[in-house]
Subunit: 199 residues, 2 copies
Amino acid sequence: MASKKNNRKQHILEAAAQLFREKGYSATSMRDLAKAVDLKASSLYNHISGKEEILRDICFNNAKRFLEALRQVESGTSNPAGKVRALIRLHIQVATEDITSIMALNDEWRHLSEPHLSEFIAMRKEYELRFKAIIEQGIREGSFKAYDANIALYTIFSAMRWIYDWYRPGRSISIEQLEEEVAGLLLTGLNNNYSFEIS
Amino acid sequence: MASKKNNRKQHILEAAAQLFREKGYSATSMRDLAKAVDLKASSLYNHISGKEEILRDICFNNAKRFLEALRQVESGTSNPAGKVRALIRLHIQVATEDITSIMALNDEWRHLSEPHLSEFIAMRKEYELRFKAIIEQGIREGSFKAYDANIALYTIFSAMRWIYDWYRPGRSISIEQLEEEVAGLLLTGLNNNYSFEIS
């Protein structure tokens, strides 16, 4: 019974994420959402107190998921390149498999109210700093070039955003190919030769 | 006199882009804009017919600028890597020097009305296809790895988006360093060794 309730709730969160993506958070009403999950608005309120609760659930579920995955990567034995690659794979997997993650990774979390907004920003910041520490370790050890770690971090994060706009299951490209090529592009570069001529 | 009028118009477009970035296009009123440029709302209408005209001017000015720069790069003698690098530099320069470009490159252009929306989407699509043709040429010639050209294209485009959120003149990082490192990261990869171990 509890599990059935959880499934229903997850279904509501996914439908909400889909609507927020199409119309934006502000323009989506509880009435739109009730229609999307085939419930009367009054029944929907049995599951969820309102839009803000949905946004909060989605954002914090995803923030916890990313921090937990990061903790596992950090405690593994990979070198920094292997860790960065594992995190790129994680982002792509989540982006392609769970539409609710778009809220946490892109911009809609800005609609959270306080104190949730500050709490969420702190979790995001923690994730960024710990990801950056892995890049800094690679730079220190000489396996990464001496880039500015912020530039490397934000370029990597940002490079994965388009996947939300673009990837749909059934595209000719598999998730595995996407992971392999985006990670390859970011980690070893577009160019076949390590040094290349710009003529 | 014409030039003074153009300067005033450019000033209005820049102030509008700043407001759209902070509040979003939908939430920005002509009253907000008049206040930002220190004009009475009635005087503002002497310069501009309304929000939609501003959005249109900004989007098409930028689309033309990018297509013209692309044309110059295409007709140059650089190899594909040099051309991609030149385009990455162009994106970063525009992103750091002209705040109005954010509208054309990110999402606010979606607020354009027809037929302008379709016209703008066609210009964007043309830019993407011609940029992709350069990547495909590099793949064909063997100077780029045999990635899917769409994955490479969108990863590169997307990787530059964060610069709008993050870069401010006066940051410890210069535009030159930003260009050098983002282009380096995307073109030759994060890793110091072309092949690397993932342990």
